[in-house]
Amino acid sequence: MSVVVENLIRCAPGSERILLSDVSLSVESGAFVALVGPSGAGKTTLLRAIAGLDKYDSGTVSLNGETLASIQERAGKVGFVFQSYALFPHMTVARNISFGLDVLSKAQRPSASEISARVQELLDLMQIPDLGKAYPSRLSGGQRQRVALARALATRPDVLLLDEPFGALDPIVRRAIRTWLRALHDQLGLTTILVTHDQEEALEVADRIVVMQHGRIVQNASPAQLDEAPETAFVMEFLGEAVSFKGVIQADTGLFIPDEAGVLPFATSCPAGPAEAMIRPFEIFPENAATGGKIALVRHGRRNGFLHYSAQLPERSVPVFFPVHTKHQSISDSCQGLNIAEARLFRNGQRIV
């Protein structure tokens, strides 16, 4: 089921502060979308607006072409998992899961045996088949997460909204649960919108990444596009460690000339003028590596399959990473200059092409 958000505006109640500034977003049926951004960017605000939990000042949220006005119209169609899970503490896991069915009017409510069958089906799906009689206070974080998910799915919604679902889990459980969640999404054919502040998590699990900043959507793209062509310097920086070099694009030669000594110019087709080149540490290539070069390379250790070095430029040192497997082609302790031809160019924070 597709979710379309159009021109959503929300101000903080009783003040002029804008929480959502004219946000439009279209999520097609079956997509897995991650809303990412720094805290205060409006990710959770947008998610809550989609769920109908908060009122917005103008704009519309529609599900499969139908505009949703109130929370009642979303009931049962939209599953929501809270960051704190918000499990009902006084109900067993089974009662928590069946809540969405128990509250239906007598005419709509399935029979008691159908409900308990559905609960067991969900418990099995969540891989916690024996926890039906337990109370939430006795569950681990990962189990609570699964119960919250099962509760949200009990009414067979087409849209699943997840607010920082992995926030409270330890790294190992986190990794396991996100892979499992992605599989579940595919298996049930859901349309999922997930809020996270962890860009790596988003890149791993989602088809599309929506980057937000200051209550607006800065970029909405696939992980690959986002990596290749970040719209702004902020997106580039948010998605991973980046090094930036100030400089000028010359009109006559079409070269980007960095201000710093030791960084090599490179050719570009971008319009002339001042610009900022941003590059990931593993895309920097030291030219003419040799002993006794101008720029010293200092080794710091290895992490995530990369050898970490820092290149000592006259003014500062910048990180340079090499894949671990290059280590046999001996990396020398200095070089003549840094090749940054892979960099993306920005002017006033916006990418230039």
Binding site: A75, V78, F80, F82, F88, G100, S137, R151
Partner: protein, 288 residues
């Protein structure tokens, strides 16, 4: 052998085992002296005193119908007042926690007032207000409701002193119920009535029972705020604590202590009852 073991266990207890609590022995002494001299000893004295004038005297007292009438008045009024305080306490706690009204701080302070002011003062105030010629009593008696010098008056006074217990017990628990529970329930399709009943009130039940127990215990023993408004007619509106005073003034010590013993027993049983019910209803908390 056994004595040796006990001695060792006691020595370990006195040294605090491997406890790292600073001032363990001082705390232990204070706790033992306090509970021993100020709680257990007086209770023992109270339990033993009625039998000092002979077994027959106590049995005699147990045939006193005036005493049973007074006990029944106290008991039924305390139950009624505590029950009536449940909805009242829920509303007040709800407003204090969720209602962002101006003057909320003021209301917050006023709720504790019945605990702070001398009970005799509240008694006189209530009696003056509700007497047949009082500000509230006069209009009420015109429409046929007599408050002062009836059972209604007793219940009213007990509600007045019992309410803070109810509000202060419910308030922190309500405060700790995350707002997200309501949101989750709404999104799952619960109607407002179902949200209140299944998500807000249901987890409050154990707390409400505790509040009820406290308000009831207070009501059972309340004296100062009741006697002015009650009228104190034997068999009608005489409360048990007052009858103790009456008996003492008649130098009927075993009669007075017999009533005291029964009151003690009721308090004790109600504590056990409330504890048991609460435990049964709160299996879901992590503590149990």
């Amino acid at each position: 052998m056994v004595a040796g073991k006990m001695k060792k266990a006691f020595a370990l207890f006195w040294q605090g085992g491997d406890s790292t609590l600073p001032g363990y022995r001082l705390s232990l002494t204070v706790t033992l002296v306090w509970t021993g001299f100020f709680i257990i000893l007086p209770l023992f004295a109270l339990a033993l005193r009625p039998w000092q004038n002979g077994f027959g005297m106590v049995l005699n007292e147990l045939h006193d119908t005036r005493m049973f009438a007074a006990l029944w008045t106290s008991f039924s009024s305390a139950v009624a007042a505590a029950l009536l305080n449940i909805p009242l306490g829920l509303f007040l706690a709800w407003m204090l926690v969720r209602g962002h009204l101006p003057g909320r701080k003021m209301a917050d302070a006023l709720i504790d007032l019945p605990l702070a002011i001398p009970t005799a003062v509240s008694g006189i105030t209530l009696a003056t207000l509700y007497s047949p010629r009082g500000w509230l009593g006069a209009p009420l008696s015109k429409i046929g409701i007599d408050v002062a010098y009836t059972r209604t008056g007793i219940v009213l006074a007990l509600m007045f002193v019992g309410l803070p217990f109810m509000v202060r017990t419910i308030e922190p628990v309500l405060k700790n119920l995350p707002h997200e529970l309501e949101e989750a329930a709404r999104l799952l399709g619960a109607r407002p009535r179902q949200v209140i009943g299944r998500v807000l009130l249901a987890p409050l039940i154990p707390t409400v029972i505790t509040g009820f127990g406290l308000a009831f215990a207070r009501g059972m023993g309340e004296y100062g705020s009741v006697i002015f408004i009650a009228g104190n007619q034997p068999f009608k509106s005489e409360i048990a604590p007052l009858l103790i005073v009456v008996r003492l003034q008649e130098f009927d010590y075993s009669g007075a202590t017999a009533i005291a013993l029964i009151l003690l027993l009721i308090s004790f049983l109600s504590l056990i009852f409330v504890g048991a019910v609460r435990k049964k209803l709160s299996v879901w908390t992590s503590a149990s």
